[in-house]
Homo-oligomer: 111 residues x 2
């Protein structure tokens, strides 16, 4: 058993988004992501082989989905379940405070 805090050990400078593996198993991994004013590069879309369940635990962000050009605003406790190959990008995160995400990547049943 090991322990930690999701808001702990955040560097004061975040030139890049911070991705940290918290747990990993067969077909699943749990990651902490910390953003501060970061967004996906222009024209970039995530197109992932796995499903992603992702929550903004603290802070604020906007995701854009290619399908229907839908924008989803996320603040404390808001989560999105993103299917594999559902193309999306991080449109915006707050610049004044850290946005802390919890992401669970997992394989679809029966894949």
């Amino acid at each position: 058993m090991n322990t930690g805090n999701l808001f702990g050990q955040i560097p004061t400078q975040l030139p890049e988004e911070l991705f940290q593996l918290l747990a990993v198993g067969q077909g699943a991994r749990v990651e902490r992501i910390v953003s501060k004013g970061h967004a996906s590069p222009p024209g970039f879309w995530y197109d992932q082989p796995e499903n992603e369940w992702v929550m903004v635990v603290r802070g604020e962000a906007r995701l854009r989905f290619e399908k229907d050009d839908r924008v989803v605003h996320l603040a404390g406790g808001d989560y999105v379940n993103i299917e594999a190959h559902e193309r999306h990008r991080v449109e915006w995160t707050r610049e004044d405070i850290e946005t802390v995400w919890l992401a669970v990547f997992y394989q679809e049943s029966g894949e």
Copy 2:
């Protein structure tokens, strides 16, 4: 893609702990658990076939582990990674407010 809020739709009465499936895939599932003064029955130990990464997002709780009789106190953002068959119980949760947990159950790599 579907969305929700981890703190949404909590019943005003919680005679039992609330377990809700948020996402499920091959060898992994994400659950919300809501407790309010609940604890595991006397003498009861969870002895799970899967690993569990669990975080108290809001509220406060104590887990007890059989090994070394270790007690872990959890408050906002504190997480524990519990290995399969690591026997543990919920010793205490706050009675005055809801404790909202996020749990990810996953299989060990190579199992």
